[in-house]
Amino acid sequence: MLSYILYVDLTNKSVKIRRRAKLFSKYLGGTGVAIRLLLEECPPNVDPFSPEAPIIVAAGPLTGLLPCCTKTVCMFKSPLTGNLGETHAGGRLASAIRFAGFGAIVIKGFADKLTYLTISDHNISFHDAAALKGQPPSETEKALRIPNVEGLQSVVSIGLAGEKLAWYADANVDMYNHFGRLGLGAIFASKNLKAISITGTGEISAVNADTLKLLYEDLYQEAEKKGGMKKYHDLGTMENVLVLNELNALPTKNFTSGKFDFAEDISGEAFAEKQMIRKISCPGCPIACMHIAALKIPFAAQHEIGPIFLRYDYEPVYALGSNLLIRDQNDVLKLILLADEYGLDAMMLGTVLAWVTEAYEKGLISNSETLNVKPSWGDVESYAQITENIVKMPNLFYTKLAQGVAAASEKYGGRDFAMAIGKNGLSGYLTGYASLLGTLVGARHSHNSNAGYSIDQESCKSSITYSEMVTKLIEEENWRCVQTSLVICLFARNIYTEEKVAEALKLVGINRSVDDLKKLGGEIFQNQYKFKFREGFDFHKENLPNRIFETPTMTGKLDKKMFTNMLASYISKRFRRRGSEKEF
């Protein structure tokens, strides 16, 4: 059963291990435990880059035991939003943490030199990372990976964007996964932490091995044999390109349209046919949702070539493809590669590049800001130069770009087409009110918080009132708080029904009814908002770029007044007890 938390102090190069069985039995793991630890460990109103600001990493009680329980949750104070930083990653990390005997890791302090941390079961050591300085995650990963290791190893590392404190730098996990959102990479760097390697040789146990085998078989059949997750195995999330384009919901040219004329060129089908060379799974999941492409980069005559293997998914392809009017697969992959190698959130990079293009077109910025780079739709070379400058920050303009579109548009104008909500670059769903409201109210301002896009799609098929949409968003986020505490991959959300989750928890000695779990989900959400309100979050102060009320979505053009009413309804339903949105 989950009990142990590893506390790492980079300043003193010391660690302690504490037993926190009650914390795990009450809040399960993942999101539930991480937010409690963040509330405990993060001083109010602390500078996100302060040594006192913690990084919390949490696995879950079902990690490794049952199919698709593979994700790791990371929380911190985000430099991008100045508020709750929450980002989830697949890969080998959750299993490695559990095999090493831990449920969560808390990292604080500031190392005197650039450092990498190795955790090998309960042996923890600090190493000089001077030789890794400036290295992309792919090289750092190779440096730290132990071939044919006993047990399971995971490597988390940052790139140059993190080292330079770009506010949306990400942390790479095991080459093809990312703690992508809200700037964890910069938080690593602010602690002089380049990478973590964690290796576990232990085991994860259930209360009853026979019940474990039966439930595993049941869920494996659902996931693998009955096709419950076929989409993610076949084309992966990239299936969305043509589906959403057909629905007029594929963000194109900085959200000026939901239709991309060349969607077929960058579709999941086209990538699978032309670029994909393999699929990879997280340990403990038979689905293999990671779709890996081979990008051939010719560099000299006589057919000299440097092959690159990289993962592609819907969100980066929308952000660095249709949203920039890029139709060539290789060009999209080149930009994904740059994001990967520098260690930048590919989605936010796309948001920034789209804003830059439009701001330049509209004359809000000129060559003196861009240092003579001329951004233009579909021009991958100019986007590559801008990306390099974002990371290297040669002037104030690029420094602002490295802080995201909220900061850049505050300085240079163009807030109406700075396509971020809650300062986080928008996901690729131009579907309607639920998606929009869901992103604003979601604790991590992600489409994954509460699946508004899915509620919008439902609203096309059946009549749902706006009030019902709000209720659905609340119920969905509460339940997702349970799923991300276990930590079930959200791709498997449909095979883990409420009853299955309650049954699964019995395997690890946790007896909770479905109703209890739903209440717990609500409590976890409230804990997230306790942190958000404490750090100054205010629904009414967040910028809503006007474009979202101008461009027709899948469900038509959105009305600002209707949206405001839905937000008011949400606040009163969510925080109704004492009438104030900051009270629960």
Binding site: G64, L65, P67, S95, F99, S138, E141, K142, R145, P147, N148, V149, E150, G151, L152, Q153, D174, M175, Y176, G200, T201, G202, E203, I204, S205, A206, A209, L212, K213, Y216, Y220, E224, R278, K279, I280, S281, C282, P283, G284, C285, P286, I287, A288, F309
Partner: protein, 139 residues
């Protein structure tokens, strides 16, 4: 003819560990990447292909030959059985290094080698047809 497991299509491995975890569940009732008789090994990078290793049931098993205590006994059909009572006070674990493909590891709890029981669950749970299981196949 007894049934056996073999690595049939190594290039298809997706690194999901379904085989490994099926093995540890069956043999020990837990999930582990260490307490298992089948391994998905990773090289110096996740860019590399995965390397799946399981006992190939040699006819004249070098692990049995190497064991000075006769704790590993060759089976007539190939492969070995472990006589646990004889596998004691060993310091060099020559059985492990005798296996060219590294199919033997020690159970970290008992300090005895983990022997594949040829139950076939690893193959059953492989979603990508990497593993074969049956009477006839294998090298």
């Amino acid at each position: 003819m007894p049934e056996k497991v073999w690595v049939d299509r190594p290039e298809r491995c997706i690194g999901c560990y379904s085989c490994v975890y099926a093995c540890s569940r069956e043999l020990f009732g837990t999930t582990s990447a260490s307490r298992t008789a089948i391994f998905v090994r990773t090289g110096k990078s996740l860019e590399d292909r995965f390397h799946v290793v399981v006992c190939i049931t040699c006819k004249d098993p070098p692990c049995a030959v190497a064991c000075k205590k006769e704790a590993l006994q060759a089976k007539p059909e190939g492969g070995v059985t472990l006589v646990a009572s004889k596998c004691v006070d060993c310091k060099n674990f020559e059985c492990l290094s005798a296996c060219a493909i590294g199919a033997l590891t020690l159970d970290p709890k008992t300090k005895k080698p983990i022997i594949c029981t040829e139950c076939g669950l690893c193959a059953k749970y492989c979603p990508h047809e990497v593993l074969g299981f049956g009477e006839a196949g294998g090298p």
